[in-house]
Every structure is written in C-alpha cells, then in structure tokens.
C-alpha cells in the first residue's frame, strides 16, 4: 500500500501500484501522481533540484483529493466502498482487535471462509467478533467466494453469538459483502432460512450487539449479521436493499443506469442517517479508508470502545427491549384516509417494561396522502 500523501516510498514501485488503485473519478489524482513520479525520476537522473515543484504538485494532489472527496456522488461512494485496497475484516482483526482467537465451523456442515468468527479484545473489552471476509488475494478470494457467505456462514455466526450470550461477551459484527452467495448449494442448504433465523435470534440475543458496515452492505446477506443495538457505517461505505447494478437491471432494464440507481436508493451513510436507519457514521481519512488504514483502524477502535462502554452500562433486559422497540418502529406509512404520515408505534415491547424509548425519533415528515 503506497501512501500517496507523503509519497516517501521509493518511486520505482509507487506509480504502478497506484495506477491499479485509482478509481474512475480519481483520474485527476492519477495524472498528478504521474507528474510527481516523472519529476522525481528526472531529478534523480539529471540531478536537477525539483523539490519546490514536487512539493507544489503534492499540495495540488491534496487539494484535488479534498475537492473530489468532499462531494462524492452515491455511485462514487459505492466505488470507494468496493475499492480493492479497502481494509477488510482480516485487516481490522490485526489492527483494531487484539488476541484474536478464531473459532471455526457451524458444527453441522462446514467452515465458511466468507464469515470469520472468534474471540477478540478491543480497547478494554472482550468481545465476539463476526465479520464477512472478502479475501486479500485471488486464492483467498476464491476460497471465501469474495465475501458472499453460504448458509453455514450465517449458522456459524449465530452459533458463536449464542456462545457470546452465554459468556456475557458483546458481539461486534463487521459487514462487508455484496450479498449472500447465490448458488445451488446455498439454496439447497436453506440460505433464506439461515438468514431469517439470524434476524429473529439476533433481535432477542441477550448481549449487546454492534454492527458496523466497513465496506459493502449488500442486502439480506448484510442484514443477516446486521440486527444490532447500534448500527454504524463508515463514512464511505454503503448499505442497500439491492446492488445499484441489480436495481438498474430490474427497474430500468439496463445495468447502465447504475448511477441513477445508486442515487435513487439512498444508500450512503448520510442518507441512511436522515432516514433514521443508521445511528453513527465513523469518519474516514481524506481520500478513503484505504489511503490511511492506520487512521481508519484508530477511528473504528475508538468507536467500538466508547460504544461498548455505553451499551454495557444498560441492563440486559432494557437493552434487548430497546432493540425490539426500535425494530418495531421501522418504517412510515399513511393510516387513515387523508391522514398525515405516521411512524410505526411500539405495542409489544419485550416483556413489560415501561420504557418507551424510541430510538428512531426523527421527525416524521408530514405529507398529504397521494392520489
């Protein structure tokens, strides 16, 4: 990973590695990077002092990056979230978590490499960490189907969550998947049932759960480890009911409309916060998580540590009750004829506590009924 900001690495390897990792909308950055490399080569070969020019170009690189990244379109966000060098669960297991003790297998069928589970420590907390694994290189990516888990992955996740519940460990889920694996074996072994059971059981699991979308939050495959007391998204990650490509293919009848679909689906952290579906946004360094993985990791660690502190202060039944109430309230609708929009109301909080905390308390935008 070349740090283009400081560019202290030898220029020999830098340009090539970076060309691979520049995204379509980052063309201007790629050009500047190329210029810098050229200047450095010239300086080295001819002995001319180009330090000032190079410094100027680096400043230009930074301002251009800030301009591009402070206003990412939804489709550009999708591209950053899918960046081949974006930190993965396996990276965070080394940087954010300590003493990771992997626990394999669902005790029924197999050990799905697309879902990694095990004990770990973060900050002052012992946790059970569950995360999608997209794989670093081609070999690993093939083994874990590019992060698309089979039913055994979801069952393994639930098995480990139940163990966490038993031993009073909070659960931390790291979401990064295009979706559950669409294949023969997946259907034969009941992918729909595996996800459904996770949704039901996570909603009543008696231990704190935090879910963080670290890259791609793809549909049911993401939600299958996504039911939580706190849901966070990294600044440039996304969470969607369907991939922009899939949505475009179905609604516009052409995958070419993926940019429109990305826009329409309101899949960015910012939009989802407005819709009260996401609690927190974890900031990323300028230029995306992959440009400064250490900073990204530090941000995640800080978030997990403070959120775990907070969640652990609640009584377990209060926590589970609040989680159920929050799920109960999801979604707005019109009720009586001509009435304004209303939010789903809690009716059956878990057990009988008087607490009626409404976690998604965004003001329901009043609207009149459409024709």
């Amino acid at each position: 990973m070349t740090d283009v900001l400081t560019a202290k690495m030898p220029t020999k390897s830098a340009p090539k590695a970076d060309q691979v990792s520049f995204l379509e909308f980052e063309k201007p950055l790629q050009r500047i990077q190329h210029d810098i490399a050229e200047m450095e080569r010239e300086a080295r070969e001819s002995g001319t002092d180009l330090t000032a020019d190079i410094r100027q170009q680096r400043t230009r690189f930074r301002t251009t990056m800030r301009r591009l990244y402070s206003n990412l379109t939804p489709w550009e966000t999708v591209m950053v979230a899918r960046h081949p060098k974006r930190p993965l669960t396996t990276d965070y297991l080394k940087t954010v978590f300590r003493d990771f003790c992997e626990l394999h297998g669902d005790r029924t069928f197999a050990d799905d490499r697309a879902m990694i589970t095990g004990f770990a420590r973060v900050g002052g907390h012992k946790v059970m960490v569950i995360g999608h694994n997209k794989g670093k290189d081609i070999k690993e990516r093939m083994e874990c189907n590019f992060g698309c888990a089979h039913p055994e992955g979801y069952r393994k996740a639930l098995l480990k969550m139940r163990m966490a519940e038993k031993y009073g460990l909070p659960v931390v889920c790291l979401i990064d998947t295009q979706g559950a694996y669409p294949g023969l074996g997946s259907e034969e072994r009941g992918i729909a049932q595996a996800i459904a059971v996770n949704l039901m059981e996570m909603s009543r699991l008696k231990t704190p759960i935090i879910s963080v979308v670290i890259g791609e939050g793809g549909s049911g495959g993401a939600l299958g480890i996504g039911v939580a007391d706190r849901v966070a998204l990294f600044q440039n990650s996304f969470y969607s009911v369907i991939s922009p490509e899939g949505c475009a293919a179905i609604l516009w009848k052409t995958a070419e409309k993926r940019k429109h679909a990305a826009e329409a689906l309101k899949l960015t952290a910012k939009e989802l916060t407005k819709l009260d579906l996401v609690d927190d946004i974890i900031p990323e360094p300028m230029g995306g998580a992959h440009r400064e993985p250490e900073t990204t990791a530090a941000n995640l660690e800080k978030y997990l540590n403070t959120t775990l502190d907070t969640l652990k202060r609640s009584r377990l039944d209060t926590l589970v009750n609040r989680r159920a109430t929050r799920l109960r309230n999801l979604g707005n609708f019109f009720e009586d004829p001509g009435e304004t929009e209303k939010q789903a109301k809690p009716k059956h909080p878990r057990k009988s506590t008087s607490r009626s905390s409404r976690l998604n308390t965004g003001p329901a935008r009043p609207r009149t009924a459409s024709a």
């Binding site: 559950a180 694996y181 669409p182 294949g183 023969l184 997946s186 259907e187 034969e188 009941g190 992918i191 729909a192 049932q193 996800i195 459904a196 059971v197 949704l199 039901m200 909603s203 009543r204 549909s219 049911g220 939600l223 299958g224 996504g226 039911v227 969470y239 969607s240 009911v241 369907i242 899939g246 949505c247 293919a249 179905i250 609604l251 516009w252 329409a264 689906l265 309101k266 899949l267 989802l272 819709l275 579906l277 989680r323 159920a324 799920l327 109960r328 999801l330 979604g331 707005n332 609708f333 019109f334 009720e335 009586d336 789903a344 009716k347 059956h348 878990r350 009924a369 459409s370 024709a371």
Partner: protein, 273 residues
C-alpha cells in the same frame, strides 16, 4: 429481490369466459376454474390467486374481519425509476383494488379462530415495503394479544426496492415480532405459495412453526437467473420448487389447495390452539 416483472401479468384474474392453463395449455371455463380453486383440472397446476379470492377460498363464509385496512405506502426516498413511486402505487391500487400487497384480518377456518394474512402477488409482485412490514407485525401482535394461531399465506418477489433500505429492515422488524410471538408460545403456520422468494423467504416465510407449501410453488432466496449466471450452468429441473424445499428439509408438508382448510385445522388442533 427477484425480478418477477415478466410473469406479472399472469397473476391478474382473467376477464374472458375461458382461460388457458399456463402449464398444459388446457382451456378452462371460468366458472369451473373458480370451483377448482384456481387449480387446473387437467394438470393440477396451482395458479396464483388474488388475496381476496384466496381469503374466500380459505375461511368460513363471512367470517373475515379485516384490520389495518387503510395503511398506505409513503414515498420515503422520493423514488423515481421509469415512473415515480407514488404513481406506481396508484396504478397498482387501480389495477388490484387493494391498497398494498397484503390483507390481514381475523377469521375462522373450519370453526377455528385465526389471525390470517394473505399476500397479493398481483400488487408489485407482493414486494415488501413499510406497509407490508407493518401489517405483518400487527397481525403477529394481534395473535399475541388474543392468543390466536397466526396463518400467513406468503407470496413475494422480495423487498420493495422503491423503499430502499426501509424495505430491507422490514425483514428484521417482522422477524423480531415473530420472536415475541414465539416467546409468548403462539402458533405460527406459513403457507408458502408461488412465488415465495428473496426478502420475504429470508424472513417471516421461513420462520413458521409449521411450514406448508402449495405444490410446485417457487420458493427460494436468490433469483434463478442470478444463480445461473453465478454458477455459469443450467439449473437442475425442479430447482427452488416446493418439492425441492421439502426434499432439502425446509418445508414440512406440501398440501394441495383443496386440502388447505382441512390441513390448517388439523395442525391448529394438534398444537392445542
């Protein structure tokens, strides 16, 4: 989300005097079709039926009391594809005479009181948005409140894309409500009909204490075309059917439509409800 648009027109009740079976092409007299509960008398093909028709077929005459009937979709994302979402909803309401993709109510089946929800494949392929999620949840809560068995007749193309993530989280909302029904010791029976797929399959349709399916109903998670593309091969005969799900252990019983009332009553009696 499974693309079902291509088969959408199949679901409307045909207006003519005669209709052709989609499978064996046998010509069926309309009146005969109604009498056979929309099952082809020639080949036994279970046609998709509109929710109101299904309710009439399933419950004791004049016992259905609908609730949450006025719930209607908002447009939380200001979604516009080829047409704006509110317009799409209006067209579907016009076409089906229903407000959204599910009808819920209380009824009697062979004298047994139940809470019944029936999804309507004719309404945007019975996709699940906030309204479907809320009505399913209210049906679950009614079953808890009145200690009644819950029967959900499922059919769906999946989550309603036009409501984005709000539609996805309805999977969690309904599953969480079912956890409460389970805690309360309530009985929940799923009747999976053609097609029960994607987000609905991966939530309440897979969580029944007893899961019944109609013969040959398509039941599965991912769209068959997506799977064929992924594995780069033809899908085996009978893939993602009720029979396939039974064989692999995800359906308890396959029940022909004509026997549904009897079978539901039996199961309710066994569970002491």
């Amino acid at each position: 989300m499974v693309d079902m648009a291509a088969s959408e027109e199949k679901t409307g009740v045909p207006a003519g005097l005669w209709t052709r079976c989609e499978i064996c092409e046998h010509m069926i007299y309309e009146k005969e079709l109604a009498e056979s509960l929309h099952v082809c008398p020639e080949c036994g093909h279970h046609r998709r039926v509109a929710a109101r028709t299904r309710i009439t077929q399933l419950v004791d005459p004049d016992t259905f009391e609908e609730f949450a009937a006025d719930l209607r979709a908002t447009d939380p994302l200001n979604f516009k594809d080829r047409i704006p979402y509110p317009e799409r909803i209006a067209r579907e309401q016009e076409k089906t005479g229903e407000k959204d993709a599910i009808i819920v109510g209380k009824a009697f089946i062979r004298g047994r009181a139940v809470v019944l929800g029936v999804m309507n494949p004719a309404f945007i392929m019975a996709s699940m948005g906030a309204v479907v999620g809320e009505k399913v949840t209210r049906a679950i809560e009614k079953a808890i409140d009145e200690n009644l068995p819950l029967v959900l007749v499922t059919a769906s193309g999946g989550a309603r894309m036009q409501e984005g993530m709000i539609s996805l989280v309805q999977m969690a909302k309904t599953s969480s409500a079912l956890a409460r029904l389970d805690d309360a010791g309530g009985l929940y029976v799923v009747v999976a009909t053609d097609p029960t797929t994607a987000g609905v399959a991966a939530s309440f349709a897979s969580l029944g204490d007893v899961i019944i399916a109609e013969p040959k109903a398509m039941i599965g998670f991912a769209g068959p075309r997506v799977i064929a593309n992924t594995i780069n091969a033809e899908l085996p005969e009978g893939f993602q059917t009720a029979e396939f799900m039974l064989e692999h252990g995800f359906v308890d019983r396959i029940v022909p439509r004509a026997d549904l009332r009897r079978e539901l009553a039996r199961i309710i009696d066994f569970c002491g409800k």
